[in-house]
Amino acid sequence: MNDLIYLVPLFPLIGFLINGLFRKPLSKSAISVIGSGVILLSFIVSIILFFDVKEHGGTIVNYYNIINVEGFKIPFAFQIDQLSIIFLLIITGVGFLIHLYSTSYMHEESTDHFGRYFSYLNLFVFSMLLLVMGANYVIMFIGWEGVGLCSYLLIGYWFKNDSYNYAAKKAFVMNRIGDVGFLLAIFWILKDFGTANYTEVFAKASTLPVSDATAITLLLFVGAVGKSAQIPLYTWLPDAMAGPTPVSALIHAATMVTAGIYMIARSNVLYSLSHISQDVVAIIGLATAILAATIALYQNDIKKVLAYSTVSQLGFMFLALGVGAYTTGVFHVMTHAFFKALLFLGAGSVIHAMGGEQDITKMGGLSKKLPVTSWTFIIGVLAISGFPFTSGFISKDEILMATYAYSPLLFWFAVFAAILTAIYMFRLMMLVFFGGFRGTHEQAHHLHESPSALLIPLIVLAVLSLIGGFIQLPEVYGGHDFLNQFLAPVVPAVTHEGAEVATKDYYMLGGTIVGLIIIFAATRKFFAVSQFEGRYTGFKKILADKWYIDELYDTIIVKPLNSLAGFLKSVVEKSGIDAVVNGTGRFVNYSSRQIRLLQSGQVGNYILFMVLSITVLFLVFWNQEIIVQFLQKIF
């Protein structure tokens, strides 16, 4: 099996190189086959590795030492254990479906841009695989940076539009801010442990003083905040919707943004040492979940609603990690990948049918013309809202139970966020798929169901959203708690302490009933809405305008930085440095002109200079010691 491990990232790398270098001579179908085929191959290898890990446990494969100095080694090594194989399956599986979807969604592009798209997607999958397969924090960081880069490249894919470029820059810069924290954490780990390898770090972790553990984990969390869009570094994710919809599905729903979750789940040993960091993670996760959910309630762009929904669900995942339920966090990553990718791809199908329109005030009643899209979208909405026995229900309930065991106060806030989730998702679904059509006549005529390449991934993901939760069905319902047991060697299992089975039952039942009531109420409000302006006043406007956080960042950070840069450019650079450099040149010119006048061609002048020079030499020679002492005093 060790021989197969390197194939998993190798295939996407080959796809990236071929599609990137040969995109002009290749045809679109060749590019599609290569681009999607390599991911399929990686997926097949991942399945083989999964069965191997299930039987034999994890392995570490060392290739060569990147840094190899006296006593300090950083190897390029892959660690395939239970945690990374789950992520591998998610990345390659959902990634393959999205590649398949993209072959049809992006077919209007010209061939070399089409090839560029697929090469960037493959590079992204390669970097993400590096991230989850790395055996130490340095390899993870390499993948971390790679996915940040690909996110930038793909958000700014339609580079001729300035605002998309701005959004791509924003995403990259905010990522980098988080990366500073991650780097500092890596340096601290290297200083404390002398190595960055997971096995060695976690074996020695208990020897750390709590202050060090707190600092390291908080710095790691800063990295996660940047990558996974938590408060305060989340504003890039809604703007990242400028990229093509499959990109939003893959990168900003299923995979890249979950890198932070992976990192924290992987470092669970360190986090268990420090209660302060766990509290911080949980509270920031919960706050983000609520904040993003409130903003999503009043957004009018399909993709923006889904983007804020992603931020909110990531907040849930961080909440799970913060209260110590690491497997639940990973489980929610998995189910979220299914239903969020489904929702984004469904939104893409809707946008495709509407001829590029993304504003839900212009949609409505699409379920008649787009049956498959609407059914799969409805399944996705049910999953995310926690309709009983969908995958989202099981994972979200586990998170809520774990939160309740940790702190009942946080539990009620989390329930509030879950209720908001149901409300805004059902609002979205009702406004898009039911009611009267609010668009123009040309759009009405253009409405058609999407081609099968767009629909097959939707159907597969819908099935997974429905049944995917059953791998972690709690024993209460007769399930096997499989994921918990599977991940147990790497991630501590969630033990459901502090809450008896009966209490859990009542809460789940109560939660389900309340949820259904909310759903019913939302349906009544938004069903058969034929008039929907989408303009809001008062408090709703504050929510629709995203709590003015972007404007706040603009005033506090962006504008001062810009004026500082302008000052440096016009004053320091132009008047300062340029003046010095140009002045040196001018000075040399001037002095050479003056010195040239010495060559007068008159012998008498030359004799005069000779005499003067000899006089000076004589004086220096006479006063040698004094001059040497004087020079020594200066220097």
């Binding site: 060559q599 007068s600 061609g601 008159q602 012998v603 008498g604 005499v611």
Partner: protein
């Protein structure tokens, strides 16, 4: 006589010679000034030689002190003579060509 008088005299002679070389236009006058500089140096050497002999006599030591400087004076005179002969030969050639001994005429180094 104290040695400072000799030093002062020799310095004055030397400076007059230098100024003469720099300032005069007639080539033969310039030669005279060069001779003046050389003789100033001779004067200084002889004076110092006598000073050394006088201190040696006073301490009743070496009776042949100070002869090195007198030897050097002879060398300087020989060199002066040789140089004058060569220099005057050049001036004669110059006069034959341009019928004047004005050195300012020779500012050809620039063109």
């Amino acid at each position: 006589m104290p040695i400072q008088y000799y030093i002062a005299l020799a310095s004055c002679l030397f400076c007059i010679g230098v100024v003469g070389v720099l300032t005069r236009r007639n080539a033969i006058i310039i030669f005279m000034c060069i001779e003046l500089m050389l003789n100033a140096a001779n004067l200084l050497l002889v004076a110092f030689s006598k000073m050394e002999y006088a201190t040696a006599i006073a301490n009743k030591t070496n009776l042949t002190a100070g002869t090195d400087a007198q030897l050097f004076v002879f060398f300087i005179m020989v060199v002066a003579a040789a140089e004058v002969s060569v220099g005057l030969a050049i001036i004669v050639m110059m006069y034959r060509n341009i019928h004047s001994v004005d050195v300012n005429f020779l500012n050809r180094l620039k063109h």
